[in-house]
């Protein structure tokens, strides 16, 4: 009897420890980034770093705005593509499609999630970039194809399996009886989806979108391969950009002899970190707000 109790205590102790470690990881990373960014933060005012668009490390100019804007822009484009595609697919798969189609999609989604990002990058170069050039020519726009739109498309495709997976889960857990309740008072199937399923699944949908955005913000290699990597504040989606992760990946380990460069890259990572945290807080707020409403 005593032994069982002891084992019980030990196992719950282990669980607590694991949980603690998991909670600690982001804290430790965050703290490390802050410490490493301190040198550059002490040298330049924060507003100048965030708002400046001049990037000449040799001359001591560190303006991060082009990178921040690029990151947000590419993420926005990918979200605008991925969100509706995933939402509609998930609704179709769970509400309209036959069972076998959903069963067929599950492994497809898993495979999509498992493809290495460098492969998506290559696919982007071979397929998406030429497509975007063709698309641009429709409006007589000039582009190399290595631009925000290409990055957004590649990112969207990459985040689709993750978002879709959660969304399917969300819609599957909604009880059939709830649908029946709505249908039985004379709502059409579409009205039921719009007024009942989307509302019932609201927090799950927000969580899925939040994860998709976080993934898009942090994705590095695939984007870096198709986005052009030009330091500028991009206007149209057909212009090249230089997102934060690409900046870090392209330059870390090289050019470290330039003063403050090391610290600047760490600061770039910190900005990314903070942006992701902010997005997650926003998603949380949306979720809580939705739950309160329902």
């Amino acid at each position: 009897m005593k032994r069982r109790k002891l084992i019980d205590q030990i196992t719950s102790g282990w669980m607590l420890l694991c949980l603690f470690v998991v909670l600690l990881i982001p804290l430790v990373i965050g703290l490390g980034l802050v410490l490493k960014s301190l040198p550059i933060l002490q040298l330049y005012p924060l507003s100048e770093l965030l708002n400046g668009s001049d990037w000449k490390p040799m001359a001591g100019h560190f303006g991060f705005k082009p990178f921040i804007v690029s990151s947000l822009y590419v993420t926005l484009i990918s979200f605008l593509i991925a969100a509706p595609v995933c939402l509609l697919s998930a609704i179709y798969l769970t509400q309209y499609a036959r069972r076998w189609l959903l069963n067929l999609m599950q492994p497809v989604i898993d495979i999509m999630a498992g493809i290495p990002s460098v492969v998506y990058g290559v696919w982007g170069i071979l397929v998406v970039v030429p497509l975007v050039v063709r698309l641009a020519s429709v409006w007589d726009l000039k582009t190399s194809g290595y631009c925000i739109l290409s990055g957004g498309i590649v990112l969207a495709v990459m985040s689709i399996p993750f978002i879709l997976n959660i969304l399917i889960e969300v819609f599957q857990t909604i009880p059939t009886e709830l649908k029946e309740a709505s249908l039985s008072v004379g709502a059409t199937y579409w009205e039921t989806i719009k007024f009942v399923l989307l509302r019932e699944g609201f927090s799950g949908i927000m969580a899925a979108f939040g994860l998709g955005i976080s993934k898009a913000l942090g994705e590095t290699i695939a984007v870096l391969m198709v986005v052009g990597n030009v330091v500028q504040i991009p206007g149209s989606p057909f212009q090249a950009a230089y997102p934060l992760p690409a900046l870090i990946a392209n330059n870390y380990g090289e050019m470290m002899s330039i003063p403050m460069y090391d610290s600047a890259l760490m600061f770039a990572a910190l900005i990314l970190f903070v942006i992701i945290i902010l997005f997650n807080i926003l998603a949380r707020l949306a979720i809580n707000h939705g739950e309160y409403r329902c």
């Binding site: 009886e177 309740a181 249908l183 008072v185 004379g186 709502a187 059409t188 007024f195 009942v196 329902c294």
Partner: protein, 251 residues
């Protein structure tokens, strides 16, 4: 008005060749309570879902036969589904309030019908919440989520939601099985009151409830109606051995 409101003829439902309902022939009288009895899995829920065609949302079921409501063929694919469903209020085993406020739950069907006028909506919501005896309990929190009500209150809310679209028939599938005795009695009393205006079809496993409510009793076994008649006959003098056995165990 009296006489029959629903006439079911040769209704067969099967799943991959396995019959769920076999050759159902049934007449349901207007403004009467018809109680459907039968052991679990015999097809009672399926029968109810045929009536408002909720059965359509399940894949792989074959349905044949006819269900006439006011002389109109319900199973006819050409008929407007939403209009047919509005003729029947559904009350399920457990309450499923819609993910919205108490007010909006009742107003939902009305809004679907196109009622937009705010005062009209408010009046109708109040009327139906009063009809199910829920009004005093929720009057000061109409805007709060329906999911915060107790189960018993939720079930009454669901009844009000169904009544709000002014159905002719109420389909109740074990409406009190998730409720405490007091809430059950409350729902039962609603039914006694409602039968003056509505035709009620109720599935129940509670013999005493069946006795109290029934004007007509149907006993289903393995997808077939094996006995039906007025409660006095079925309960006190059952003919079929299976009915006898079921009633003996059920008491």
């Amino acid at each position: 008005m009296s006489g029959s409101i629903i006439r079911i003829q040769n209704l067969n439902v099967s799943h991959k060749g396995i019959p769920i309902l076999k050759d159902i022939n049934l007449t349901i009288s207007r403004n009467k309570v018809t109680v459907i009895l039968g052991p679990s899995g015999c097809g009672k829920t399926t029968l109810l879902k045929c009536m408002n065609r909720l059965i359509d949302i399940y894949n792989g079921l074959d349905i044949s036969g006819q269900i006439h409501l006011d002389g109109e063929e319900i199973l006819n694919r050409k008929n407007d589904l939403t209009r047919i469903r509005q003729k029947m209020g559904l009350l399920s085993q457990r309450p499923y309030p819609l993910p919205m406020s108490i007010f909006d739950n009742v107003a939902y069907g009305l809004k679907i019908q196109g009622v937009r006028n705010r005062t009209e909506l408010a009046d109708r919501v109040e009327y139906y919440l009063k009809q199910v005896n829920l009004w005093p309990e929720v009057v000061d929190r109409l805007k709060s989520p329906a999911s915060r009500l107790s189960i018993g209150q939720q079930q009454r809310l669901c009844l009000a939601r169904g009544l709000a679209v002014e159905p002719e028939i109420i389909l109740a599938d074990e409406p009190t099985s998730a409720l405490d005795p007091l809430s059950s009695t409350c729902i039962e009393e609603q039914f006694m009151k409602l039968k003056e205006q509505y035709t009620i079809l109720i599935v129940t496993h509670i013999m005493r409830q069946a006795r109290r409510l029934a004007d007509h009793v149907i006993f289903i076994y393995l997808g077939e109606i094996i006995e039906q008649g007025p409660p006095a006959e079925i309960f006190d003098n059952p003919q079929h051995p299976t009915t006898k056995e079921y009633l003996r165990v059920g008491h």
